[in-house]
Every structure is written in structure tokens, then in C-alpha cells.
């Protein structure tokens, strides 16, 4: 037990990212005293993310200035249970954040909602194709429906001032938007982003092939905007420094400007920085949590008692905290029993690179994190999966996010990787290239999971989280299919000189944690209606400890074809709603086990 016990608070929140700040904002409005423990530092868009200092590609994109320090905090990794996991000593495949705003500071702002059928995936596929199509996969329903979540997706889109074109408002379809999306209750709060010539060519070509292109929904705001909390966002200048950077322009929606800045002096919220939570403490009977123990900024171990504990420390670290605290039952891949760490999944990424002749200019230095022209024809179950040999899918999107000097050096296939010829190719292609990304789903299988490493410990003496993951055959077939479609569109575009492809989930290759793919780690503490296959119930409340609420992508039973933040914030506001309108008046399990 900790050396010092602090006065009790109503709610303790672990982590000051998107989910943690939303919980504090909403629960403090109900009069709940909220203490947020954040292991990183205070920072602010105005003071800390201003150009031109922030536009330092070496410091932030290459040396990853805003992300976790692996010598302090990391995980170990292996592809399968027959291997010995080794610590990840350098960041690569995913880039978790630290400090006020969490990873919501250095995200891109591609802001999606799930498809209605993503949320009841097992039921939906079973009805349409028969249960066998899911054989060998631990696909599950979320236990909450699109209709139930819709108001919360809508609210978060307004918190971010999302720029987009609706494809379905209250059942009325609009071809200019995504006709596959579930019915939304309102239009996007801001008009879509502007697009470059290659994106317009992608749009026209995709449409001529019978697909349904639309502008990617974007949290890079397109007009002066005031969000429901009163925060004022500024229009994006297309500077091309979104992912891996903070936005000093107040134009990329982030947790600091959209939520933190709207905390009033009198709100009962306290944020403690450099406070690293070590574990959640349990009551003697184990039924509830009593609070959390953390290392304060002086390195002293202190206990913060609380009535309600909210885990908002990012998908991976939520699972780690549960495992080191003995919350729930750890998953055992041999027997398939236990739930904490089960259904870890990731995201498949493949792409087609399109090289135009001198007729088509992309000018890639004008870009934005969510400046994309997208088709959703091959996402989720928007297309017939009969005889395809896989389930799931992804969106295909011509994205123009940046043209930064170190990393953006597109060269057509066959170019040497260095020397005069390479330089010549970069010169010729830099202004005439666009990437078409295939952003695909990932299905849970028995052997992919998270647990504690038996050998390695972190700076705090705790065992590392151990990740065991390889892309399931299903995902590889799906990714191959998607990149084939992207390549076909690319080849149909005019003025194209060459097309290259890359597939991070290719058949025969192991998943590698070295090249960046996405920070879309999902599962490990999934939600559902059956305590034998989920850690939390449909409200995000732990089955085993009713005063512990869990937030983030760890709740996803399997990963969607979309980026996670829109979906996970919809779930966060849904859980907050259950806390505000039910649980806090009468703390108890909200569902019978």
C-alpha cells in the first residue's frame, strides 16, 4: 500500500486524452469532483505547438517528440506464442501519446462513425451468410446499436467541428456523401475540405467505375467554428503538419482546445501532471475498486481514493493496468478462457502509389491530415462477401496529408533507393504523386492477445505488457483484395505514368512493429453482453468491479475498417450518459452478469 493516502474524490480519471477530458468535462458538470492523473506534462496549442518551431520534421516526426519514451514505458512483442517476446525499444508501428491531450494532439483528424453492421457484426454476418463464415474468428457484437450511439457520434462530430458531406441524413441519401453510412441526425457542422487535382481525378475515375466517392470526414476544421462547449476553432491552412505534430493554428480539433480550454475556474476538476498510475486498488471483497495508487511528481507513491474509477489511459495501457491490478480475469489463449487481453486486433494498411506525368500537379506541401477523397464500397459489409474467403473490409482513399521533406520522397517502382537516379526520380515525382490508402479491418483470433511479460519490466518495476500478434489469414486476404481494387482505380486514372503498391498485411509476411502503420490498437478489454467473452458490459462498466468504467479502443470486439476515434468517442459519450443518468444516482452493476 502507498505511503500516503489523499482525501477521497468522487471520480478518479487515469489519462488526460480525448476520453479522459470528455469524462471530466461531463461529470464535473454534474457536480462530481474529478481528479485526472496524467503521467505527462501540461502543454498547450498556443504555447507549445506553434509554427515554425513545431514544423520540425526531424524532432517530431522522426524523433517522435510528442510520443511515449520507450525507455520508460514500452511493451514487448512477438508474432506468436512459440516465440519469446522482446521489448520494443524504439517506436515504430504505433505511436501512443503522453501529456495533456494524449495522442489526440498528434492525430490526423480522420473522423469516422462505424457502419450499423459493424456494431452487430456476428449477428449481421450470421444472418446474411450463415455462421460458418466467421469460423476460426472470435467476432462479436458490441452489445450496443448504431441507433443508440448515433446521438453521441453526432455530438462528438460537433465537438470537433467536423468537416464533411453527409450521405444519409435521417434516411435521405445524398450521392455527394457516403451513401453507405448509417442514418445521421444532422449534416456535418462544417463543409468538406478542399481537394487537390489528383484527388479530383480519383473521384471522377472511381465514379466512372460505378463506385461512390465522397470527401473524407475531417476534424481539420474548414471555417471559423464554435463547438457545443463554446470553444472557438479556426479554419485549417493546409500546412501539412497534422499527424505526429500538434496544431498551433487551433484548426485541428484536439482535446486541449475542444475540451480542456472550456473548463471553468469553478469546475470541480483537478489535473495532476507527472502522475503515473501504477495500479487500481480493490476493496477487500474484490467487488469494487477503492481508488488508484500512483507515483506523484516527486516520485512518491500515493493513494487516491475515489468512488468511481475511470480508465482512460489508451487502449493498450488500460489493459496493462487491469492486468497489473488483478482486475478481471486474464485471457488464456490455450483454453480460450478469461477475458482481459482477449481479442486484441490491429488495422491492415496497404496502398497504391500513383505517379502522374507533368499534366497533373499534386503540390503535396499543401495537405491536411484528413484531406482525403474516399470510397466506402469495399468497407464492412457494404459488398457481397459470398465466396470471397474473408469478412470485413476497409475504405480506399486518395489522401494528401503532407509533403514533408524527410519522409515524403515518392519514387516509382524500379527506382534505386539511393544515388543520382534516386534524386532525379524524387525531383521528377515529388509534385506529381498521390497515395491511395486501403485502411482495413482486423478480426480477432484465439492466438492474438495481450498479457504480462514473464521476463521484462518497465521503469516502475512492473512487468511489461506483452503483445502477441500476427495478421490472421482473413485479414491478409481482405487486404490483398482491397489493394487490388485501389490499383485498378489507379490504373484507370488519366495521365498516370506508374503505379506502385505496398501491403503491410501481405500473405506470407509477418506483422512487423517496425514500419509505422497506425495507432489503432484495439481490443483487450472488449465490451459485450456476455461476461465470458467481454471485460465490460454494454455500458463500458467492468463486469467484475462495477465502479470501474473503461474507455477507448480496447472496447472494440474487433477492429473496424475505420479510424477509431469517432467510434470510441461515441462509446465514451454513451458511457458518460449511463453514468450521469443512471449509475451515479444508484451505483450498482448496470447489467446482470
Amino acid at each position: 500500500m502507498a505511503a500516503r493516502t489523499l482525501p477521497k474524490t468522487d471520480v478518479v480519471i487515469v489519462g488526460a486524452g480525448w476520453t479522459g477530458l470528455a469524462v471530466a468535462k461531463e461529470l464535473s458538470a454534474e457536480g462530481q469532483r474529478c481528479v485526472i492523473l496524467e503521467r505527462g506534462d501540461y502543454r498547450h496549442d498556443a504555447e507549445n505547438f506553434g509554427g515554425p518551431e513545431e514544423h520540425d520534421e526531424l524532432k517530431y516526426a522522426r524523433h517522435k517528440g510528442h510520443m511515449i519514451d520507450t525507455p520508460t514505458k514500452t511493451l514487448s512483442f512477438r508474432n506468436n506464442t512459440s516465440e519469446t517476446a522482446l521489448p520494443m525499444r524504439r517506436l515504430g508501428s504505433f505511436l501512443p501519446g503522453k501529456g495533456l491531450g494524449g495522442a489526440g494532439i498528434h492525430w490526423n483528424g480522420q473522423l469516422w462513425r462505424p457502419l450499423p453492421s459493424d456494431l452487430n457484426m456476428r449477428t449481421h454476418y450470421t444472418e446474411r451468410y450463415g455462421a460458418e463464415i466467421l469460423d476460426g474468428m472470435q467476432v462479436q457484437d458490441y452489445g450496443v446499436s448504431y441507433e443508440e450511439l448515433e446521438p453521441h457520434f453526432d455530438f462528438f462530430e460537433r465537438v470537433c467541428g467536423t468537416a464533411g458531406q453527409a450521405g444519409n441524413v435521417n434516411g435521405e441519401q445524398n450521392d455527394a456523401g457516403n451513401i453507405f453510412e448509417g442514418p445521421r441526425s444532422s449534416e456535418y457542422p462544417n463543409p468538406p475540405m478542399k481537394h487537390s487535382p489528383p484527388q479530383k481525378i480519383f473521384r471522377d475515375t472511381a465514379a466512372s467505375m460505378g463506385y461512390h466517392p465522397f470527401p473524407m470526414p475531417s476534424a481539420n476544421v474548414t471555417a471559423p467554428y464554435e463547438n457545443p462547449y463554446g470553444a472557438q476553432l479556426h479554419p485549417c491552412t493546409y500546412c501539412g503538419f497534422c499527424e505526429r505534430f500538434g496544431c498551433g493554428y487551433f484548426a485541428k480539433a484536439d482535446p486541449i482546445i475542444c475540451i480542456y480550454d472550456t473548463f471553468a475556474e469553478e469546475d470541480p476538476i483537478e489535473i495532476r501532471y507527472r502522475s503515473h498510475v501504477l495500479r487500481v486498488e480493490k476493496s477487500e471483497d474484490g467487488q469494487t475498486a477503492t481508488g488508484v495508487t500512483y507515483l506523484d511528481q516527486n516520485g512518491e507513491e500515493v493513494f487516491q481514493p475515489a468512488d468511481t474509477v475511470c480508465l482512460n489511459s489508451y487502449a493498450l495501457w488500460n489493459v496493462h493496468l487491469m492486468l497489473v491490478s488483478g482486475l478481471g480475469t486474464p485471457y488464456d489463449p490455450e483454453t480460450g478462457e478469461g477475458t482481459v487481453g482477449r481479442n486484441y486486433a490491429y488495422q491492415t494498411i496497404a496502398a497504391a502509389g500513383v505517379f502522374f506525368n507533368d499534366e497533373v500537379w499534386s503540390n503535396p506541401f499543401m495537405g491536411a491530415g484528413a484531406m482525403g477523397m474516399t470510397i466506402d464500397d469495399f468497407n464492412g459489409d457494404n459488398f457481397d462477401h459470398t465466396d470471397l474467403g474473408f469478412v470485413g473490409g476497409g475504405y480506399i482513399s486518395a489522401n494528401q496529408t503532407n509533403g514533408r521533406p524527410i519522409n515524403y520522397q515518392p519514387t516509382p517502382p524500379g527506382t534505386p533507393s539511393w544515388g543520382a537516379e534516386w534524386k532525379q526520380a524524387v525531383r521528377e515525382n515529388y509534385l506529381h504523386h498521390i497515395g491511395i490508402v486501403c485502411h482495413g479491418s482486423s478480426m480477432p483470433v484465439q492466438g492474438n492477445y495481450l498479457d504480462l511479460d514473464p521476463t521484462y519490466t518497465d521503469d516502475y518495476g512492473q512487468p511489461l505488457l506483452r503483445m502477441t500478434f500476427n495478421f490472421p489469414e482473413n485479414d491478409r486476404r481482405m487486404s490483398e483484395y482491397l489493394v487490388g481494387k485501389a490499383e485498378e482505380i489507379a490504373r484507370n486514372m488519366d495521365n498516370v505514368r506508374a503505379v506502385s503498391t505496398v501491403n503491410r498485411a501481405a500473405e506470407g509476411d509477418n506483422y512487423s512493429i517496425v514500419p509505422y502503420q497506425t495507432t489503432h490498437n484495439t481490443g483487450g478489454a472488449v465490451m459485450g453482453t456476455d461476461p465470458s467473452t467481454s471485460v465490460v458490459n454494454r455500458y463500458g462498466q467492468m463486469w467484475d468491479h462495477h465502479n470501474v468504467f473503461v474507455f477507448g479502443a480496447c472496447l472494440f470486439p474487433q477492429n473496424l475498417g475505420y479510424n477509431p476515434t469517432g467510434p470510441l468517442m461515441g462509446l465514451a459519450y454513451w458511457t458518460i450518459d449511463a453514468l450521469k443518468n443512471d449509475y451515479l444516482q444508484n451505483p450498482r452493476p448496470l447489467m446482470d452478469a
Binding site: 498556443a46 506553434g50 509554427g51 471555417a223 479556426h234 479554419p235 493554428y249 480550454d261
Partner: protein
């Protein structure tokens, strides 16, 4: 014949009392076209002056001519030099902005915006409307290339140390409390601008700058493509505007000084001078 502002101003309708007190602008300050061309050997100057394509000597000549008051539609009515000076120095009272070294594309766009009414101004709107497309482009390139002395920090109106400090802070990091992004984000590290679209603030007149911020806040100036300045100004108090403008007025303008080669006496320049003086006599 040597023209001075005084002689030109005689013919101006009395629109602006303060302007008449402007220091005399000496037309002989107008650099010759070959001097200007020489400056284009510096990449940054060339980039700064390029609007649609790189400025040719013909274009610079036309620009110089327009600045002197010569324009197709009987002249703009008022030579730019009367108010902005031949070298784009503007006017110390801060009524007439400094144009020297502003991005050509930015100035061209301003002329379009004045003419179209998204930046309405009782002096500049009429002037811009009378210029042809080519003349707007040419005069914008011309002022993008010229260099003007900077009156220095002592020329700016006095301000308290605290206010100056606050202005510097707004410039560098904005205000987290008020949700104002630092000006350096777009106007460059020392406020020296970010061509082609973002003007410099360093060395611009304080009165002019704070007036522009007010025009944005009240919705009169609505010409910024994304609406960023409107949003920023809406979060600023009068005090903020004064402070940040006073700060930037004291920052040295950034254009690298390019030493022009000794003027070549090839007769060309002299000709322009004659032409110009002819045209200017229309104004009288």
C-alpha cells in the same frame, strides 16, 4: 523634370486630411528597372515577386509606370507613389502601409479584393478598380522587388514596456487563455511573412496594422481566403491589437538586403522617366 509628392498632391481631391501631412516622397527614389532585375537574381526575391510567372523586365517596367501614375484607363487617378512612395516606404503617420517587399501575389490579391469589395476602402477600391488585370500584376511585382529604408523602432509611437512585452508574447505564442494562436505560426519567425500569401508584419506601421485588425473584427475586411484573420481578430481586445502592432512595428523588416549593381546608363531608364512625368502631369 523632378517630380515630388508635393506637386502631385496638388491635384488630389482632399479626401484625407492627415495624408497631406505625409512626408514628401521623392520620385527619384524610384529604382531603375535594371536594378530591380538584378535583385531577382536572389531566389527569395524572385519567389516573392512571382505572381503567375516570373516577372519580366517588361512587367517591371509597366509596374514602375503604374506606380508613377501611368495606367491604361487614364491612370488610376492617383499615382501609388503619392501615398506609398516610389520605393514602397509608405507613410510614417501609418495611414499608408509599407509595400516594399510585400509578396507580389499577396499585393495582387489585395488589389483584386479592393476592386471586388471584399476589402472595401474608400481610397484603394476606386484606384484598384481602374487598373487592368495586367497593371495590377505588374505593380504588385514592382513593389515586391523594391527596397525601402526602414524608419526604425524610434519612429513608432511610444508605448509602455508592459504593453510591448504583451505584444511580443502575442506574436510569439499567442494566448492560451484567449485561444489566440501566435502570429509566428503564419507570419514567420520574425514576422517577416510567408510568401506568396502571408504578408510581413515586421516593420509595418502600427496604426495601419491595428486598424486592419479592427476591420477584420468588425467584418469590414473579409478577404482572407480561409477566414483565419477574422477568427483571430474576433478574439482580440483593442489593447491586444495595439500591443501586437506596436511590437511588430519595432521589428526590423526581413527582406535580405541585396546590393544592386551600379546602374547601367543605357538610356532605357531615362526614357521611362520622361514617359512617367508625362503621365503624371495628367494628375495635376
Amino acid at each position: 523634370m523632378r517630380l515630388t509628392t508635393k506637386s502631385v498632391l496638388l491635384g488630389l481631391p482632399v479626401l484625407f486630411g492627415a495624408a497631406l501631412a505625409a512626408p514628401a516622397q521623392d520620385m527619384s527614389e524610384a529604382p531603375r528597372v535594371n536594378e530591380l532585375e538584378a535583385r531577382l537574381n536572389v531566389d527569395s526575391t524572385l519567389f516573392n515577386a512571382t505572381i503567375d510567372e516570373e516577372p519580366s523586365d517588361d512587367m517591371l517596367e509597366l509596374g514602375r509606370l503604374v506606380a508613377m501614375g501611368g495606367a491604361e484607363n487614364g491612370g488610376s487617378g492617383m499615382a501609388c507613389v503619392t501615398c506609398h512612395g516610389a520605393n514602397g516606404q509608405g507613410d510614417g503617420a501609418g495611414v499608408f502601409p509599407r509595400l516594399a517587399g510585400l509578396p507580389g501575389w499577396y499585393m495582387y490579391k489585395q488589389l483584386e479584393d479592393y476592386a471586388e469589395g471584399t476589402r472595401p476602402n474608400r481610397i484603394m477600391t476606386g484606384i484598384a478598380q481602374r487598373l487592368t488585370e495586367d497593371e495590377r500584376e505588374a505593380v504588385a511585382s514592382y513593389y515586391a522587388v523594391v527596397e525601402a529604408p526602414w524608419p526604425g523602432p524610434q519612429a513608432a509611437a511610444p508605448i509602455s514596456g508592459d504593453q510591448l512585452q504583451w505584444g511580443g508574447q502575442l506574436a510569439a505564442v499567442g494566448s492560451a487563455e484567449q485561444g489566440i494562436p501566435g502570429c509566428v505560426n503564419c507570419h514567420g519567425p520574425n514576422g517577416t511573412g510567408n510568401p506568396p500569401s502571408v504578408p510581413y508584419l515586421a516593420g509595418q506601421y502600427a496604426e495601419y496594422m491595428s486598424h486592419q485588425l479592427q476591420l477584420w473584427r468588425e467584418g469590414t475586411r473579409q478577404n482572407d481566403a480561409m477566414g483565419v484573420m477574422e477568427t483571430i481578430a474576433s478574439k482580440m481586445t483593442d489593447e491586444d491589437m495595439r500591443a501586437v502592432s506596436a511590437y511588430y512595428a519595432r521589428v526590423r523588416p526581413g527582406l535580405e538586403s541585396v546590393t544592386p549593381p551600379a546602374p547601367m546608363d543605357d538610356g532605357e531608364v531615362a526614357e521611362i522617366e520622361t514617359e512617367t512625368s508625362d503621365l503624371l502631369s495628367d494628375v495635376d
